[in-house]
């Protein structure tokens, strides 16, 4: 297995604050990779840099071998990196089904003119996307809600919709920023099950999460950040018992042993 994503010396400074400092990490294909740390450790910033919504102050991000630093966010998405945002971003005024269909933007093969003119093949492709979108919605369990508006969905379902939209892009790497935060245990279990199913399709996953049980359950490999620096790395057991990790978490945040 090869490294699908590598960060080398990744650093982000905002004015006087260093959010991420000289981070090295390597994500293997088909791994579920966890990124954890107390609040404010810089985890979301790392995701932002990988998906190019923010530009690193220094360092490289190598996706499938080539550096993506400096590319615009949509270009990085086009390369195959999809992102689930921490605060559910959804397309508010269109239906659930339409939301997912937008995700297929990356995969369409006909240019502007054909789609505009409505050539037969373009329309067929569009119909194909519609069918696939329904499949994805069934995959995450939202099939019967396809005509609802996102704003009418409970939080858990909104997260699932976001996941569905990212899946539509057919990514190679999926960044999940706090996928289960704010969910009740039933929803959490469902999300964990779905994440496992996604891995089975060959997609590599990176996870930022605060719920330790979920992290320990799912992740093959974990990197722990504190104040922007990597303080530990390894498998679930290793990280759990690492004294530096315990020190970072003691008194802060929640160790959810449930």
């Amino acid at each position: 297995m090869s490294a699908i994503l590598e960060a080398k010396g990744l650093t982000k400074r905002f004015g006087g604050v260093t959010a991420v400092s000289d981070l090295d990490m390597s994500v293997q294909e088909s791994q579920i990779f966890g990124l954890i740390g107390p609040n404010g450790a810089g985890k979301t910033t790392v995701f932002s840099m990988i998906s190019a919504f923010q530009r690193p102050t220094a360092g490289q991000v190598l996706f499938e071998g080539s550096d993506v630093v400096g590319k615009p966010a949509h270009a990085v998405a086009r390369l195959g990196i999809a992102r689930l945002f921490q605060h559910s971003l959804l397309f508010g005024n269109i239906t659930v089904l339409e939301n997912v269909i937008v995700g297929f933007h990356r995969k369409r093969s006909f240019g502007l003119f054909s789609s505009f003119v409505g050539t037969k093949r373009a329309r067929e492709e569009e119909e194909g996307f519609r069918v696939k979108a329904l499949e994805i919605l069934d995959f995450v369990g939202l099939g019967r809600l396809k005509d609802e508006l996102p704003v009418n969905l409970p939080h858990g379902h909104q997260r699932l919709l976001s996941v569905a939209t990212t899946l539509a892009t057919g990514p190679r790497l999926l960044l999940l920023d706090e996928p289960v935060t704010g969910m009740n245990p039933a929803e959490m279990n469902e999300m964990v099950r779905i994440i496992r199913k996604i891995r089975e399709t060959g997609i590599t996953l990176m996870l930022v999460e605060h719920h330790m049980r979920v992290v320990m359950d799912l992740c093959d490999h974990i990197v722990v950040l504190n104040y922007g620096q990597k303080i530990a790395e390894g498998g679930a057991q290793q990280v759990c018992t690492d004294p530096a990790v315990c020190a970072a978490y003691l008194g802060k945040g929640t160790y959810d042993a449930a």
Binding site: A73, A77, N152
Partner: protein, 358 residues
């Protein structure tokens, strides 16, 4: 309303529009209809960019570029209207491409303000340099050459009615293009960008490319209307193409209702063109009444006039008075109130009509 009924309604409407001038005696009313149609098209183009997340203030300037290009090409260059038309539109598209490439890189106010300045500069340029006729503008722009028909007849452009049909043809083209765009991937990309630019980018939609495309298309369409207007009114003054006109165009769109990108502007343009005319009897009060009407529609019909047709209750008057007397919402707080609105009211897919699924 099922799809079939929509087609029927649209066809009936279209037939009415085509037949209308035959029944109207007064050239003045036909003139009004022409104005309504033109303003409606301008408003439609504004809405396109609005739905893509850009508040474009430069519409009137491109309208002016289209008009002045036509004026210069036909009056000073001696070209036929029909030759000038595509050239003028191409000029506008080129200008839009150049300026758009610079403007569109920014979002929010970073786009609005330069576009507003553009709206100021263009009429200023036309008004200052003598070659464009200065303050007075261009006069006696020639009418379009007659179109030869089989059988020896000609379509001449001497009466209001002929211009009406010319505009109708142009407007129809624009509307059909718009509908096709909305239905296509491009329309979907625009919608996505307008709803959440970040999310759109994360599914590989390039904001720059699609906004620039939208900007060029919209500016070309506005210019097309300017081309028509130059020939129709035979004289053009720089003042009419300034930022005020731009804002009026936005008014037609908003007051009509942005839910439907085609019908809303027609309604808005119609109301805002007819009312001032109807009030000419009380000429002194007319602007005040129009101004008050604008404000009232904004306050009581948040969905625009089209909202009435969807069966929404207009905002309640009592609530308005309560608002005035008792003060905002106590410690009014933009964030919490908008969340409040989401929880209390079950959202209806009111503007699905605008999805191009018409």
């Amino acid at each position: 309303m099922s799809k079939r009924w929509k087609w029927i309604a649209a066809s009936v409407f279209f037939l009415i529009v085509v037949a209308l001038p035959q029944f109207i005696q007064s050239a003045y009313y036909v003139h009004l209809l022409i104005l309504i149609m033109m303003n409606a098209v301008l408003a439609m183009t504004f809405i396109l960019l609005l739905r893509a997340g850009l508040l474009n203030m430069s519409m009137a300037a491109f309208w002016g570029i289209g008009a002045y290009s036509t004026g210069m090409l036909t009056l000073k260059g001696g070209l036929s209207f029909w030759v000038a038309l595509p050239i003028a539109v191409a000029i506008a598209a080129l200008v839009a491409l150049v300026f758009g490439a610079i403007l569109v890189r920014h979002a929010g106010l970073g786009f609005i303000i330069p576009s507003l300045i553009f709206a100021f500069i263009v009429p200023l340029v036309f008004g200052t340099f003598k070659v464009f006729g200065g303050h007075v503008g261009l006069i006696r722009i020639p009418a379009p050459n007659p179109i030869p028909l089989p059988g020896g007849h000609h379509i001449t452009f001497a009466s209001e009615q002929s211009y009406y049909y010319l505009l109708l043809a142009l407007a129809l083209i624009v509307v059909l293009v718009l509908l096709a765009l909305y239905r296509s991937w491009v329309g979907r990309a625009w919608r996505a960008l307008g709803l959440s630019s970040n999310l759109a980018q994360s599914v590989s939609i390039s904001p720059f490319r699609y906004r620039l495309l939208g900007f060029v298309i919209v500016s070309a369409m506005a210019a097309l209307m300017g081309v028509f207007f130059a020939a129709y009114s035979t004289n053009i003054q720089p003042g009419s193409y300034g930022p005020f006109k731009a804002i009026y165009i936005q008014m037609y769109a908003i007051l009509g209702g942005v839910g439907n990108p085609i019908i809303g502007p027609v309604v808005g343009a119609a109301i805002l063109t007819i009312i001032p005319e109807a009030l000419r009897a009380v000429k002194n009060f007319e602007p005040m009444v129009t101004g008050a009407l604008i404000i009232l529609i904004l306050i009581f019909l948040p969905q625009g006039i089209l909202g009435l047709l969807h069966g929404r209750r207009p905002g309640d008057a009592l609530g308005f008075l309560r608002n005035v007397v008792h003060g905002g919402r106590g410690n009014s707080n933009k964030v919490s109130a908008s969340k409040e609105g989401v929880i209390l009211e079950r959202a209806k897919p009111a503007d699905r009509d605008g999805e191009g699924a018409a």
